[in-house]
Symmetry: C2
Subunit: 208 residues, 2 copies
Amino acid sequence: MNDTLTPDPRPRDRARTEAALVAAARDLLAESGFQNFGINAVARRAGCDKQLIYRYFGGLDGLIDAIGGELADWIVDRLATDAAPPASYRQLAERLIFGFMAALRADMLVQKIMTWEIADPSPMVMRLAQARSKALTGWMLRQRGDLAPPDGCDAAVVNAALIAAVQMMVLSASASGAFAGMPLRADADWQRLAAALGTMLDAVYGPG
Amino acid sequence: MNDTLTPDPRPRDRARTEAALVAAARDLLAESGFQNFGINAVARRAGCDKQLIYRYFGGLDGLIDAIGGELADWIVDRLATDAAPPASYRQLAERLIFGFMAALRADMLVQKIMTWEIADPSPMVMRLAQARSKALTGWMLRQRGDLAPPDGCDAAVVNAALIAAVQMMVLSASASGAFAGMPLRADADWQRLAAALGTMLDAVYGPG
DNA sequence: CCCAAATATCACCAGTTGGTGACATTTTGT
DNA sequence: ACAAAATGTCACCAACTGGTGATATTTGGG
C-alpha cells in the first residue's frame, strides 16, 4: 500500500546514481556556472541525498575530478576531424584557432570551467586546465609534422596569444554579448572576428 | 571609566565612514576577488556595522557604483602619458596594447573586476565594463587624429583581439601563473609575449 | 536649553551552506 | 536462512549569509 511511511526511495543502483550525480553536476555547472555551485545544489538537482556524494566521490572535489576525466581530451576530440594533414604552417594554425573557436563557442560547460579557472583557481580546478593544455600541445606536436613557422617568429607564443584572444572573446560574449564595445551576438559579428584573425594569420604566417 | 557599557564607538563622521567603507570594499575586492565578497565581509573589514552600507549607499550595489565612479577613466588616466602624438597607426596601436598590458598587470583591482564581469555578469557590474570600454574607444578616437590603418584591415577588430589576448593572458597569469602551458611569471616571460605581440603588430600594420 | 535629526551599534530573523551521525531498507555472500 | 555489507534517507549541527527593526548616543538648529 505504500502507507506514506516510505515514499518510494530511488532504486538501489550505485552506478546509476553516480551517473546521475555527475550529470547533475555537469548540467548545473553549464547552466549556472560555479556561482551557487555546491554540494547541496548538486544533490538537490540529482534528486538524491548529498551524503551519497561523500560516500561515492569523497566529496565535491572527487565529483569534479570525475567530470574532468570526461573532458580531458575535449579539444582534441573535436579538433582532429580533418582528414588531410595541413599543407602549411599557416593552415595548421588556422585549423587550431578556428577549430578552437567553434568548439568553445558550442560548449557551455567548458566555457564555465575556463571562467572558473580564472575566477577561483583552486588546485582541483587547475588540474583540469593542465590536462586540457597538455592535450592541446600534444595535438599541435602531432599535427605539425615537419611544418615550420617563418624565421624570427615565436610561433608558440603567437598561437597562444591568438588562442587567448579567442577565449576571451567567447567568454565575454557568453557573459555580455560583447567585448570592449564590439558586439558578439550575430553570426556576422563572429565572421568579422574570424576575418580579422585571418588577416593576422596572413600577416604573420603568410597567405598559405 | 568606559564601564564596558559602550566599547567606544567610532567617531560620528559620515564622510569618514563612507570613505572607510569604499576603501574596505576596494581592498577586499582586490585581495580576494568577488568570491566571499558580501555585505557582511565589507562591513567587517571596515570595522563598522553593515547597516551603514544600507543607509549610506542603499546596499552593496550602491557601494560598487561608488567604486566604479572612481575607476571609470582608469585606462585613460594611465594611457595618455605620452607627450608626442603617435607618428603612425602602428605606433598608436602599440601604445594602446602595451599601455593596456602594463596598466592591467599593475592593477589587481581592475583585474578582479574584469574577472567579475566574465564570471558573474550582473547589471551592476556590467555598467563598470561599459564605462571602461567607452573611455577606451574615446581615447583611441582622440589619439588617432588622421592616422589610418592599412587598407583591407579591420583595425578595430584586430585591436580588440589584441586587447582580448592581453587581458586573457594577464588574468590567467594572476590566477595560475601561466596560460595554455606558457608560463607567465618572470619578466622574461612577459618580454617574450611582448615580442610576439610586436611581431604581430609589425605584420599587420607594418614596421613603423 | 531642548527636541529632532543624524549617526552608530546591537539583536534578531529566515534561509542557506558544508558536514556528520543515525537509521531503514535492500542486496549479497556464506 | 542469516548476518554483513551496501545503498538510500533523514535529522541535525555550527557557521554563515542578506536583511530589518529597535535602541543608544551624539550633533545641530530653533
